[in-house]
């Protein structure tokens, strides 16, 4: 007697119809790389925006002392003047030691004591309503100071351009990986259709439509890719969690500051992988069936 009646009918395609174990492994690895690319893009973007924000919140003023006035006195007067300008949180003279500390990595120790350094004032701007370069320059001129204001616009532009480029490259990498996964699925679907030619012909001659047969492959590969995508995402999540735990909020490197929330970005991976596989398998199956690989198309006319 039928043991499983009236249970669920088994699948009409044989298990592992097209080397699916290997395909699942390939998709899982691709998804793992795609997840890392995605989080990498987000982290790089976060780092670049952090740097740009920092640069936007500061300005540097170079003061040229007038005749009869020392550089430090002129810088002190400039700092005092700027402190009272609306939109400035703090203005302070950069002492020689701080300036030497900044230059030491570039010039080395030997030349620093004899090097004539500019007199600089570091200005921290109010992040809510920062004073503009024009306002700062006007205030300095009104105080009779010969000074030039650098709002780091040049650096900020470079950083923002670099961040945009890194994000675009990461996105392109992500899309390439998605295409690679789709190509692997198309190949596997075609291989499956060829390997299961006899089964498909039997189904076809028993009344199955091409859409129904394509649907069998679509479901098979969609579920397989969703599972493989979940595996890849979980592996990537574990790696990111480990890096976050080891590196703290700043990450292992300041160029890639990771956040716990980044792991949530990986949650759509199974759905995306499943959808890509679903579409790729459907198109591959319908194209193969339409080309008449299953007979019925041989005609000399």
């Amino acid at each position: 007697m039928k043991a499983n009646f009236p249970g669920r009918a088994p699948g009409l395609l044989p298990r592992d119809a097209a080397g699916e174990t290997w395909l699942a492994a390939v998709i899982a690895v691709l998804c793992f790389i795609a997840c890392l690319a995605c989080v990498g893009a987000v982290a790089a973007d976060r780092a670049a925006h952090g740097w740009a924000r920092q640069l936007r919140a500061e300005a540097t003023v170079q003061v040229r002392p007038r005749v009869g006035e020392t550089g430090l006195a002129a810088a002190g007067r400039a700092a005092e003047t700027l402190s009272s300008v609306p939109g400035v949180s703090e203005a302070a003279v950069m002492d020689r030691k701080t300036a030497e500390d900044l230059l030491r990595p570039w010039l080395g120790e030997a030349v620093l004591p004899d090097l004539p350094l500019p007199f600089l004032v570091t200005v921290r701007l109010d992040p809510k309503a920062p004073a503009s370069t024009v306002v700062l320059s006007r205030a300095l001129a009104e105080a009779g100071l010969d000074a030039s204001v650098d709002d780091h616009a040049l650096w900020r532009g470079e950083v923002e351009r670099s961040a945009g480029l890194i994000t675009a490259l990461s996105l392109a990498g992500f899309l390439l990986i998605a295409c690679a996964a789709a190509a692997a699925i198309v190949y596997a679907t075609r291989a499956g259709l060829q390997a299961q030619r006899g089964v498909i012909e039997t189904l076809s001659l028993s009344g199955a439509t091409e859409g129904y047969i394509a649907g069998l492959f679509q479901t098979r590969f969609g579920l397989l890719a969703a599972g493989a995508g979940a595996s890849g995402a979980v592996a990537a999540a574990l790696l990111i969690a480990a890096l976050r735990a080891l590196g703290g909020p700043g990450g292992l490197t300041t160029a890639l500051p990771l956040a716990w929330g980044d792991i949530l970005l990986l949650s759509p991976c199974p759905l995306l992988a499943g959808t890509v596989a679903l579409v790729a398998a459907r198109i591959a199956a319908q194209t193969t069936l339409a080309k008449g690989a299953l007979g019925g198309r041989r005609s000399r006319r």
Binding site: R15, T202, L205
Partner: protein
């Protein structure tokens, strides 16, 4: 409910299930397998198609199951010209047929029950509805005790009986069988012939390709002979 179209009504009342007119067929870059075949199978008729190996019997059956298309001539099924039929229309016509393949075409990964139930499942029938019919049919062909077995564990005769059970499960209008008794003993061959005759009496058109002249003789059915691609007795 809309009135049936004139074409549909004509197809419904067509006196013949199969009509082949001047049909020729050959596989690419090979000599013609069938030449100028003319054949009419009236609705409810019973025919045996005989002929030596390589005469083109299987090719003719493949044309009738729409697995191949003719290189010459026209094919009509159920009162409709299907020579240039759209691919999407073929499955509906195939569901009106039951086909027994010479090589059985069983699905080795499914058990006997699922193999026999395949056409019903593809027709969208519910498992709970068809399960008793499938079990009864499998019992009838002597496979009732092995419903959970898989085809590779069956003998040739058992596979043949399963293939026949699957072909007739939907009570098709046209039954096409390629050597359906080739692997069974005389007693089972008689029993299967009896099954085809019963289905024929119920209205099905039956075409059996066989090299078993004795069985054809015993059936009392009209005989068609195919020799080197040419058919005699078709009209």
């Amino acid at each position: 409910m809309p009135a049936p179209s004139r074409r549909a009504a004509a197809a419904e009342s067509a006196p013949e299930t199969v009509r082949l007119t001047g049909v020729g067929f050959g596989y690419a870059d090979s000599p013609e397998v069938l030449r100028d075949v003319n054949l009419i199978l009236p609705r409810g008729s019973f025919h045996f198609l005989t002929g030596p190996s390589g005469a083109g019997k299987s090719s003719l059956l493949r044309l009738l199951t729409l697995a191949e298309r003719p290189t010459e001539g026209r094919i009509g099924l159920f009162g409709r010209d299907v020579t240039d039929i759209n691919r999407s229309a073929a499955p509906a016509l195939r569901r009106r047929m039951g086909v027994v393949f010479q090589d059985f075409r069983l699905l080795d990964h499914l058990d006997l029950f699922e193999n026999a139930a395949l056409p019903l499942r593809l027709a969208g029938r519910k498992r709970a509805e068809y399960a008793p019919d499938v079990e009864e049919m499998l019992r009838w062909v002597g496979l009732g005790g092995r419903m959970d077995a898989r085809p590779p564990s069956l003998s040739g005769g058992e596979k043949q009986r399963l293939a026949i059970a699957r072909a007739v499960m939907t009570k098709p209008e046209l039954i096409i069988a390629d050597e359906p008794t080739g692997s069974v003993d005389k007693a089972m061959a008689d029993k299967l012939l009896n099954l085809f005759q019963t289905l024929n009496k119920l209205g099905a058109t039956v075409l059996i390709a066989s090299h078993d002249e004795a069985l054809a003789e015993q059936s009392g059915a009209r005989r068609l002979r195919l020799d080197r691609g040419r058919l005699t007795g078709g009209l």
